[in-house]
Amino acid sequence: MVAIDLTDVSKTYDKLVVDRLSFRVAAGECFGLLGPNGAGKSTIARMVLGMTSPDAGKITVLGVPVPARARLARMRIGVVPQFDNLDTAFTVRENLLVFGRYFRMSRRQIDAVIPSLLEFARLENKADARVAELSGGMKRRLTLARALINDPHLLVMDEPTTGLDPQARHLIWERLRSLLARGKTILLTTHFMEEAERLCDRLCVMEEGRKIAEGRPSALIDEQIGCDVVEVYGGNPHELGALIRPYAQRIEVSGETLFCYAPDPEQVLAQLRGRAGLRLLQRPPNLEDVFLRLTGREMED
């Protein structure tokens, strides 16, 4: 079953922000939109929810045409927005109660699901704490619990861990994986490579509203890079590049760092060892390298 189907979708504000984009998200998968700020990710999330209309193209979400019948789709969608929009004067429990009512749930139905939502969000002890008293990670988890109140099939998450410290972020990732294990579908936007690599079954890599690659993270890395990487810090990157070029498949310079993609990294390291002032790091390739390869620049945070 297809959860989300975008066909040739375009959107222009002052400039073109989404450019004839097509992708399909199957039910039960985690699909990531990966790209830097301004790539059009949030606009796509808003279009999927029917909160803004495409200028051209067709969108179907959970079998329903959007935006024409977006309300019907939203009944079965949970949303984690980029910025918290909890009611800060309300308690954790009141936030869930109020949100349940937006979905026409009765007090009894809401009371029945609140304990499991609090447990899911690890907020059992905070049920009667005001949101203003919660940490950033707790607020995000409450937002996530709130998005589940209508037992949605599809979760739309716009940068769900941006602004969290690493520990809080890992807890969110763990919670998201447990949702995927329960068969939920997730559309996730992120500019965070590690998040995309850890969570997403498939990715759409975006730049300036266009799709520049699509596939499984591991497949993208194999296709685009396919060998180990040596990172070189210090020295003159261009001078060093000339030195190791015979042993490299490809060399990229970004800022002060030289990235050397080499089938045999030992040979590269041998050329550079013993030179003063260099720091060398050999590592497997990741999505960061894919993005650098495709766009010629690093994804700024």
Partner: protein, 262 residues
């Protein structure tokens, strides 16, 4: 375009209740302070002007000045609290607090949200107007049974003023702009619509303008009821308030759609 506008209209006749209940829950936490805050202003006018000026002038339209003024203050308090709730409360929930953003992610439509906000602002107008009515009635400036007729009129007036203010809320870039609405629309109405002195004291052209303004229609319904007199042209006044409720509502759905769902 028409289809998309239609998708922003209320989904059904009851979705707005969830929005109203959210605001009610928020209000309950600060309820008493909020009521006192809304009451202070019209009370000061009622007693300050009523007793101050009232002692210097004779009967107005066949009654004591303070009894004449009481109806004006009931209508004015409904106007002021519905307006304040909409331009400050709703504007905050639309903007900084991101409350509407959360609601728009549920099965609620923009129209449901606006309807809930208007109903809530009208509720606050009803609370403020009723409180003044009770004070005035206790002091003998109105009869107790008249309160029953007044409640729906105050609620409808609140709805009309909230609906007008919602258009301003949809257009205002920031809180600062509401001062223009207050000084250019709300305050002039206070003087043009017979709240503090009879409209027939105004030059003819001003009387014509006044006859179009919502506060004049609200007062023309409230004053006869409080003074126990038969009201003339009730249908006209109720119809006018209904128009002031309905037309701005449709306009604000369109304006908010452009603002929030671009």
């Amino acid at each position: 375009m028409g289809e998309r506008y239609a998708a922003g209209m209320p989904a059904n006749a009851w979705n707005w209740v969830a929005v109203w209940r959210r605001n009610y829950l928020g209000w309950k936490k600060i309820g008493l302070a909020s009521v006192l805050g809304n009451l202070a202003d019209p009370m000061i006018y009622l007693f300050g002007l009523g007793f101050g000026i009232g002692t210097m002038i004779g009967p107005v339209e066949g009654t004591s000045y303070i009894a004449f003024l009481a109806a004006g203050m009931v209508a004015t308090s409904a106007m002021a609290s519905a307006t304040a709730e909409t331009v400050y409360g709703s504007f905050g929930r639309m903007g900084d607090q991101r409350t509407w953003e959360g609601m728009l992610c549920t099965q609620l439509t923009l129209g449901d949200i606006l309807l809930g906000e208007l109903a809530w602002a009208a509720t606050k107008a009803l609370m403020a107007g009723t409180a003044i009515t009770i004070v005035a009635t206790t002091l003998g400036y109105a009869s107790w049974p008249s309160i029953l007729c007044l409640l729906p009129v105050i609620a409808l007036s609140g709805l009309a003023f909230a609906s007008l203010a919602m258009v301003v809320t949809a257009l205002a870039p920031s809180y600062e702009y509401f001062i223009f609405y207050n000084t250019l629309v709300i305050t002039p109405m206070l003087f043009l619509c017979g709240a503090m002195f009879p409209v027939n004291q105004l030059p003819g052209a001003f009387q014509d303008v006044a006859s179009l303004l919502p506060l004049a229609h609200a007062i023309d319904l409230i004053r006869p009821a409080m003074l126990g007199r038969p009201a003339g042209s009730m249908g006209l006044h109720i119809g006018a308030l209904c128009i002031y409720t309905v037309l701005p509502f449709f306009l604000s759905v369109a304006l908010f759609r452009r603002r929030l769902m671009r």
